[in-house]
Symmetry: C2
Subunit: 502 residues, 2 copies
Amino acid sequence: MTTSSDLPQSAYQNLANIWTRAHHLGHLQAIASWDQAANMPPHGNEARAAAMAEMAVLLHGILTAPDLAAQHDAAEKESLSQQQRANLTEMKRQWVARTAIEPESVRRMQMATARCEHAWRTQRPANDWQGFLSNFKEVVSLSRLEAKALSQKLGVSPYEALMDQYEPGLTTATVDRVFNDVRTWLPGLIQQVVAQQAAQTVAIAQGPFPIPQQRDLCETIMRLLGFDFQAGRLDISTHPFCGGVPEDVRLTTRFNEQEFITSLYGTIHETGHARYEQGRPKDWLGQPASQARSMAIHESQSLFFEMQLGRHPGFLSQIAPLMKLQFGAHAAFEPENLAMLLTRVKPGFIRVDADEVTYPAHILLRYDIERQLIQGDIEAEDIPALWDSAMHSLLGVDTRGNFKDGPMQDVHWPMGLFGYFPCYSLGAMYAAQWFASMRATLPQLDSQIAAGDFQPIFDWLKTHIWQQASFWPTDTLAQMASGSSLNPAHFKNHLMQRYLRT
Amino acid sequence: MTTSSDLPQSAYQNLANIWTRAHHLGHLQAIASWDQAANMPPHGNEARAAAMAEMAVLLHGILTAPDLAAQHDAAEKESLSQQQRANLTEMKRQWVARTAIEPESVRRMQMATARCEHAWRTQRPANDWQGFLSNFKEVVSLSRLEAKALSQKLGVSPYEALMDQYEPGLTTATVDRVFNDVRTWLPGLIQQVVAQQAAQTVAIAQGPFPIPQQRDLCETIMRLLGFDFQAGRLDISTHPFCGGVPEDVRLTTRFNEQEFITSLYGTIHETGHARYEQGRPKDWLGQPASQARSMAIHESQSLFFEMQLGRHPGFLSQIAPLMKLQFGAHAAFEPENLAMLLTRVKPGFIRVDADEVTYPAHILLRYDIERQLIQGDIEAEDIPALWDSAMHSLLGVDTRGNFKDGPMQDVHWPMGLFGYFPCYSLGAMYAAQWFASMRATLPQLDSQIAAGDFQPIFDWLKTHIWQQASFWPTDTLAQMASGSSLNPAHFKNHLMQRYLRT
C-alpha cells in the first residue's frame, strides 16, 4: 500500500516549502530591520549592516535558485486549487523580477544608493545641489540600467518596469489616464478651497502635551481602530513606519511635546498599514500569494484610515473626548473645530507635510520628472528647472534656488526608488473608491461611524482587501471589491464634498 | 606574474569566511532572541519560534558541514600565525562537539526540554513534583544519551562531556579538588558569620522608588562601570540577561517599585558580562577564537563586578551619593550601612536570592546530584531526599516536601542544562583570584577605587581576560592572568576578610 508520505513530493509543495523557509528567515530580517530604526545604538550599525547584507544575499539565493524555473514548469502541470495556482503565479512573477537583475548590479546599486543617501543627509540641510548631483547621477545611471534589464524581461517600458516592483502590472497609460484627469481640476480646486478657508477661524491648543499622554492617546485610538496589541507594538523611530511581520507588527511614530496631531495622525496612517498586515490570510503566511497586493493597495489602507475614516466627522466626534481626557478641555478639541483643523488646505513646499488636497500636486510633479529621467529624456541637471516650473503652475509657490525643500526633500530619489511615487496618489484614490463602495452597500455607515461602530468598515476591508492578499491582480481585486477598475472620480467627489461644502 | 589574488584561497581563509558568515547570521538570531525576551507580544511567539528554529538548523548546517573536517586538516598544514592556529583549534573543538550529536537527537532533546520547561512553569508554583517527574525523566534520559555520545567523542566521562559545553576541558577531578576544599570550611563559616551579624542593626529605606529614577541610577552606574551606550542598551525583561552581539550588547533588568537594590545589583552583574563582550578583540569578531573563553570565565566577570568591585567599600562610597540624588537622603544610603546591607548572610532556599557566602552551598548540592544523575547512579525520583539532606547539612534549612523552592526552583534542569552549575562557583573563585592578582600588581588599587578611579581594573581585565578571548585554554588564561591555575584559597580569603572582620 502506498501512503501519501511515500509519494514523491510535488513540485508545488517543494516550492511552497522553499517560500516558507524564506518567510522564517525573513522574519528575523524584519525584526532586525525594525530594531535598527527603533533601538539600535549608533556603533551597532556596521555589524548590523553586514548581518543584513548576509541575509539579503542568502534570501536572494534561495528565491532565485536556477532550478526554480524547472520546478515552476513542473508545478504548472500538477493538479492545483485555484488559490495554489494564484500562488504559483506570484512565485513565478517574483522569480522573474528577482532574476532579471544580476547580483553584481544589485551590489553596485546598493553601494551607489548607500553613498548617495548618506551624503544627502548633510547635503540636504546645506542646500548643496551640486554636491548631491555628483552622487545622484550614478544612482540615475544604474537605475536606468536596472530599468532596462527589467523592461526586457517584463516586456514593458523601462519606467513601467520600475513601477512594477511596487505596483505589479501598472502602466503609464493607466497613470496618465488618472493623473491627466486630476490635472484638469486640481489647481482650480486648490484655489477655491484656499479662498473659502481664508474666512475660517480655527482654534489651536497650546502645548506642552506630555509624551506619555500622547502615547496613551495613540494606543487608545489604535485599539479603537482594531490594532491587535497581542500581535504588535507601538514604538518610536525618527521616520514612522509599519514593519515587523504579520504575526508581530511593529508600528512606529515620533512625538513632539509641542504638537500632538501630526504624531496621532501618523499613527492612524500606520495603523491602516498594520491592519492590512495583521489581516492577511493566516493559513497562507509564508507564501507569496499571502503578501499584501501592492504598494498602491497598501497606501489605500493607510490613507483610508488617515483620510477617509480619520477625518470623518463621526470619527472626530468619537476621538474628541479622548483628547480632552488626556489634555483637558479646550475649544480646539471640539469635533467641529477638529474637522476644520484637519482639513486646512495650504500649498507648501514639502510633500510629507501636505494636506489631502495639495498632496496629489506633489505626486504629479514627481511622476513627470522621474519618468522622463528614467527614459533618458532629461538629465539630473534638468530637474530643478522642471521642479520650479511645476510647483509654480500646480501650487503657485516659488521654489527657485531652494533645493533642500525642492528636489532634495525626499529620500526616494537618493535611494533609487524610482516608480514608487504614483502609489501614494493611486492609494488615495483607491481609498476614496473603497469608501464609496462601502457606502453603497452599507446605507447606515455614516451614522454607525458617528456612533463609534467601525466594525462594518473593518469587515468590509477584511473581506475585500486584507484576505484577498495577492490572490488576484490589482485590477481584478479592485473590480471584485468595488465593481470597477480604479476610477479617480471617487477621489474627486470626496474632495469636492469634504472641501467645498458650504 | 602571479599576484596573491590569483592564488587559490587557503583552507584556513575559507574556514574563516564560513565563520564570519555564521557570525553575521548569528547576529540576527541574537537580536531576535533579545527581542523575544524584551519586546515580543504574546501572539508573536509561534512565528518567532519557527523563525529561530529555521536559523538554528541553518547555522548548525553551516558549522557541521562534513567537508569542514578535510578543510581543518588542510589548514593544519598551512603556515599560520599563533593566533590563527589558536583559532583553528577552536574551530575544530566546536566542530567535534557539534557533530557528536545527531540532528535527530537535537530535535528530540529540544522537544522534550520545551515540553518539560513549559509544564514546569505551572508545576513549580503548584509544587507538583510528580507531574514534573513525568516530563523530567525523558529529559534526563535524553541528556544521558547526549552525554554518552559526547563523551565517546571527547574521551572524557559523560558528566564531564556536558560540563565541556560550558567550560571546555573542565574535569570532575578539578571540580572535586576545588569543591571538596570548600566543603571543609563553608558550613562553619556560614554559622560564624550569621552569629556575628545577629547583633548588627541595618537601616532599610522604604519605597516606592519610582522606576524612571531606578533606571536612571542603573544607567549612571553602568556608565561608571564603563558600559558603552554607543554600542549597547539597557531594557527590561522578566529574567535579566546580557544578550545581543559584541558590537551591540543588549542588557536587561527588571524593576520593582518597592525595592531597588536587587535590580541595581542585577544590572551591575550583567554589566560585567557586557564589558567582557564589548571588550572582545574587535579584529577577530566572527572567529571562534574571539568568543568569550567559557561560562566560568564569563561568570568571573559578572561576579567581579557584582561582588568584588560592587561591594567594595570604596565603590559603595562612590555610589551612595548617587542613590541619595535619586531617592533623597536616608540612613540606609550611608556607605557603611550599604556595606552591611549588601553583605547580610542568611541561609535560604533559593539559589538566585542567596548571598555571596551561602551561594556555593547551593552549587555543591546541585553538582553532587546532577553528576550522579547523569552517571546513572541515581534516578530523578531520588533527587528530593538527596536535596533535603544536603540543604540540612550545608545550610541547616528544612526543605522536605517543598519541591517548588527545592529541586524545582531552577530552569536549568527542565531545560536539560546539566553541567552548567559549577561555572557559577568557579566564576566566583576566579573573580577573587583576579582581584588578588590585581592587588599584587597595583598596590594603590583600593584607594583608587575609593577615589572613583576604576580604570586600572578595567585595564587589567581588558588586557588579561577580555582581549585574550579564546586564544588559550581556560587554565592557561588563568596562569597568564594571575600566575596560577584556579586556586580557591583566594575566594576563601576574600570571604574571611570581608565577612569575619571584627
